[in-house]
Assembly symmetry: C2
């Protein structure tokens, strides 16, 4: 069994992932579970962590654990107060220690980033951004991190300059699973042309969103419109609304979409129609890269 | 026990209400339950009706039952195909008979109304409109019926000319109960000024909706904004989006808001800020008035 030299943890609302490093700085094991912040009370984090990585802890001696994400929220293990942008992605020097009963655990939690006006917050994405900047330190442009709450982030001179969060992903999930539209969009299939048309509709007339949404239901009832069309149109209307509102971010800038391939592809496709050729980067390993960068930042200071 | 001469039924998705008429045309009893269409399969409607009004049925002889609403949907007792607008609110001559095992029941279901382009549907509201037109037959203007799915209806020469449905109510319910915003809006209180400001924001910049919604969460976290402000702003943003999209309906027209007092008051207040002095009418008894009007239309034809 590998004994950990240190452990990186990405602890979100729904899931937790851990990477166990050996003395040579190599990842020797990984672990994950669904014990995200949302299902734990403050006393539940330490047992969840031990369940996840306990087999890699030595019998004696402290192991540094560096965690990012919702584990540092007010409802998390311990609150790691937000850094205020403009700022670089927070490093280990900005982290907050979490109390652990097990003497082998030395837990540091990286803070999120806030923006004062307009009020906005991120927790976890700042670490992905740190991972991105570790490979492209001179980047000057826009990072878009699609997800439940998509972040549009202006990056310049190694700093998070400003950002804007859109609830598009969460609204799509609620409407497609729990609203009257669920009958129209339940099932497989995707009509790419309907998606593009809907993006264009919402960008040019965002005020019609609420009526167009009910129109999906009516079209399904009256014209037996297929699931492939309705689902793509629902997604396109909501993404078009987001693009209409984030135009100051993406217009005339270098844009990189950082996320899961299928969702990111929708953003790349929709932006292409607006004349923006956005670059895609798989976000799968950026949290890990960001935690390594946060740790390295500390080492370079000492 | 009153024996029914005929029975009016307003059968919606969540609830059912019945009015029992005597020979002199007076309402002698009412009954209601939560056995709405949403909780019944087609075979469940007759038992639910008998449970509701069975005590008022005679031992022998047929009693006409006239019903409106989702009872006539495809998933209802029997489908009553939509009338196509422009058309007057459907009358008893347009109704569809539902089969009942009990020989005393003679059930007619009034159809809803559809619009071909843009595709739109209503079921139940057309009967309320019929009730409104029974008292104001010469009305020429806009009826707004706020609810889960708010209807904006252009009325002229006794007909439903066109209409537009907005999902505002359902989106508000989903966001305030099931999204990340539930933490910011859970509780009592209402800040009228924040409501008005949000309506204005959304009307002038509807494209910012998705970011402004997440801003409610961020403001709550960073500035400890109160529930009264956040809830009023959430409501105002969504209603403002609706008003931005329905401007062709309400701008420069006579507008009557027909619905429950508290929800209708939001519409009256928001429209007043836009220079439109909308009239309010309590919608509580309009379904009954509409069913009476649908029945009278039949009698005047025979």
């Amino acid at each position: 069994m590998t004994q950990a030299d240190w452990i990186a943890v990405d602890w979100g609302t729904s899931n937790v992932r851990a990477w166990i490093f050996d003395e040579r700085g190599e990842v020797r094991a990984t672990a994950s579970s669904d014990k995200g912040m949302g299902s734990l009370d403050p006393a539940g984090f330490e047992p969840a962590l031990i369940e996840l990585v306990g087999q890699h802890l030595p019998e004696t001696g402290k192991v540094p654990v560096i965690a990012c994400g919702m584990v540092g929220a007010r409802q998390g293990w311990v609150e790691a107060p937000y850094a205020t942008c403009p700022c670089p992605p927070p490093g280990l020097a900005d982290a907050v220690s979490a109390t652990a009963a097990d003497p082998r655990l030395d837990v540091s939690i990286l803070p999120g980033v806030k923006q004062s006006g307009p009020a906005d917050v991120m927790r976890g994405e700042e670490t992905q951004i740190g991972g991105f900047l570790a490979t492209e330190p001179g980047f000057d442009g826009i990072l878009c991190l699609p997800g439940t709450h998509t972040k549009w982030v202006h990056i310049s001179a190694g700093e998070i300059v400003s950002f804007r969060t859109c609830m598009t992903g969460e609204i799509f999930a609620l409407l497609s699973r729990q609203s009257v539209l669920r009958f129209a969009v339940a099932g497989d299939g995707w009509d790419a042309q309907s998606f593009q048309a809907a993006v264009g509709d919402a960008i040019s007339s965002p005020q019609n969103l609420s009526a167009w949404l009910f129109g999906l239901r009516a079209d399904s009832l009256l014209n037996e419109t297929g699931v492939d069309v309705s689902k793509a149109r629902l997604s396109g209307l909501l993404l078009g609304l987001e693009l209409a509102g984030t135009k100051p971010y993406w217009l005339g800038r270098e844009v990189v979409i950082v996320g899961a391939p299928s969702l990111s592809d929708l953003y790349v496709t929709a932006l292409a129609e607006q004349g923006v050729s956005a670059r895609f980067m798989d976000g799968g390993n950026l949290s890990l890269a960001g935690i390594r960068a946060a740790r390295a930042q500390m080492e370079s200071k000492t």
